[in-house]
């Protein structure tokens, strides 16, 4: 088995042992509860909002949770003197994180499709989760690099939410409807994320969706470069200096 697969399956094993997967399932049921209590004829809009919020927030927070668990237990030190490279470390965490994202969204989608009869393009949703989840897992790494503990990491995440999530949420909730505002939002990765998820329920211009996908893809590559580059400093810091 390659080092990547060992790390990846190790992540999945620990997600189960540390009840992270259980927490993902509970979050999914919490979202279902919310969707169930909303008294509107079509919950598609709320479903999209929940998926958007879930992928972005959980992708960032799960990276923080797993890394700070490992830091707290000293395991990072042991991993850093094992025959693995930084790419294997980063990618195994990111992909395991995507699995957690997929489980949550799959449960919520199952409810939304079977019980609430909404129309969602599932393959499109799958690719959207992959792209948005990867992008925001890498954002999670960058926040972790700049945080000394989990609390600092949460503060970093809140800053990201305020700067990148809130402006998009204002538009999603219809609080700001200006076209100029909407166009400016296209500068944000969260707007691209929201666009991709919205597209899974149809009705969006193909060019706009393609632009959002390219934005996130290029953004992911740029972030991957910085995450990879920042890893060495992170190792120096976590090796106890």
């Amino acid at each position: 088995m390659t080092a990547f697969l060992v790390l990846f399956f190790g992540e999945l094993q620990r997600m189960q042992k540390y009840h992270i997967m259980t927490a993902s399932v509970l979050v999914a049921f919490f979202w279902i509860g919310m969707l169930h209590l909303i008294e509107v004829p079509d919950i598609t809009g709320f479903f999209i909002l929940l998926v958007f919020f879930d992928i972005v927030s959980m992708a960032i927070i799960m990276i923080g949770v797993t890394i700070f668990f490992e830091k707290q237990e000293g395991v990072l030190k042991s991993l850093f003197v094992s025959p693995i490279n930084r790419l294997e470390f980063i990618s195994s965490k990111t992909i395991a994180n995507l699995i957690s994202n997929l489980v949550t969204i799959a449960i919520v989608s199952l409810y939304a499709i079977l019980i609430q009869n909404i129309n969602i393009h599932l393959i499109g949703l799958f690719f959207a989760i992959m792209l948005i989840g990867t992008f925001h897992s890498l954002v999670g790494f960058l926040i972790v690099y700049r945080s000394n503990d989990f609390t600092e990491m949460l503060i970093g995440m809140m800053k990201y939410f305020i700067v990148f999530m809130l402006p998009v949420s204002f538009e999603e909730f219809g609080l700001i409807t200006s076209e100029l505002y909407s166009n400016i939002l296209f500068l944000l990765p969260t707007k691209a994320s929201s666009t991709l998820i919205t597209a899974t329920s149809g009705g969006l211009d193909t060019g706009e969706v393609a632009l959002a996908a390219v934005y996130l893809l290029v953004g992911t590559l740029i972030l991957a470069y910085f995450v990879n580059r920042g890893f060495r400093k992170f190792v120096i810091r976590e090796s106890g200096v």
Binding site: M1, A3, V6, G10, Q13, R14, K17, Y18, E70, E73, G74, V75, K77, S78, F80, V81, S82, P83, I84, N85, R232, K233, V235, I236, S239, G240, V241
Partner: protein
């Protein structure tokens, strides 16, 4: 196995070098002790040799090749034993070892090591439920699980009862007997005296002395015998040179006529040598 020349290292946020140009060699099959007070650069040196810190200056060769030329497979050859716990607390000892074993091409018989270190009955217990001593023993097994050629050990017997410390020391000696090389960092001079072939004392980022423990004791000790004896109800003390003790009349008289209270050769302990060389208590 390792040759280190003019090694220097500066941490990104520090104004001056932490390691200030050190040279030493660790020969294949020897146990090399790196000693010194806290904060003099021992851990930094070990981190550089284990490639946790890579932007050093100077030259480090492992088996004749610069360590910067090795890829991740460098870690197939080495084992690192940490002083602090380094295991997933919610996984059992066996799950932890199995996880790390899969990362290596060769594996040691960890069941046998668990058995020897008294952990086998608790191998299915979560590591979070282990005592400090059990975690230290598990760390040692973790360091050996890939059958390394080179072992880096940081205070391997710290926090252990004498029985388990003995087992660990025996295992280190056996590792050496089997051709393994060890870099040992410890404050326990008994361990150093018992295990190390060569020791280097560090102070302020430099190596200030390198020698065998035996030579150090000879170099720093005085070849004197100190005798305390009772003379007309008074306790008296006399020092005699060891070299001509057999012919020393005064010594012979004391032995013959006085009541000897204590008699000690004045060789220096490694503890005292440590204090003298590094200048700290």
């Amino acid at each position: 196995m390792f040759s280190i020349s003019d090694l220097r290292y500066q941490y990104p946020k520090n104004e001056e070098d932490t390691i200030k140009g050190i040279d030493f060699e660790i020969k294949t099959g020897e146990i090399f002790g790196l000693l010194g007070p806290s904060g003099v650069g021992k851990s930094t040196t070990q981190k550089i040799l284990t490639r946790q810190l890579d932007d050093f200056r100077g030259e480090i060769k492992y088996q004749g090749k610069s360590i910067t030329d090795y890829d991740k497979n460098f870690y197939q050859d080495i084992g690192v034993g940490f002083e602090i716990p380094v295991h997933f607390s919610r996984l059992t000892a066996e799950e932890n070892l199995d996880f790390f074993k899969q990362l290596y091409k060769t594996n040691a018989d960890t069941d046998q090591m668990l058995e020897r270190l008294g952990l086998y009955p608790d191998k299915d217990k979560k590591v979070g439920e282990y005592s400090k001593g059990m975690k230290v023993r598990l760390n040692f097994i973790r360091a050996l699980l890939n059958q390394p050629k080179m072992l880096f050990l940081d205070e391997p017997t710290n926090g252990l009862d004498p029985k388990n410390a003995r087992i660990i020391k025996d295992m280190i000696a056996e590792f050496k007997e089997a051709g393994g090389t060890v870099l040992l960092t410890t404050h326990l001079m008994n361990d150093v005296e018992e295990l190390c072939d060569q020791v280097a004392f560090m102070a302020d980022g430099r190596i200030v002395e390198t020698n065998t423990p035996k030579n150090l004791k000879m170099e720093y000790g005085s070849r004197l015998l100190k005798v305390e004896y009772s003379d007309n109800g008074q306790v008296k003390e006399a020092n005699f040179k060891l070299d001509d003790l057999g012919e020393n009349q005064e010594f012979q008289q004391i032995i013959k006529n006085k009541k000897i209270l204590t008699m000690h050769s004045q060789e220096m302990t490694l503890d005292n040598i440590f204090i003298e060389i590094t200048g700290r208590r």
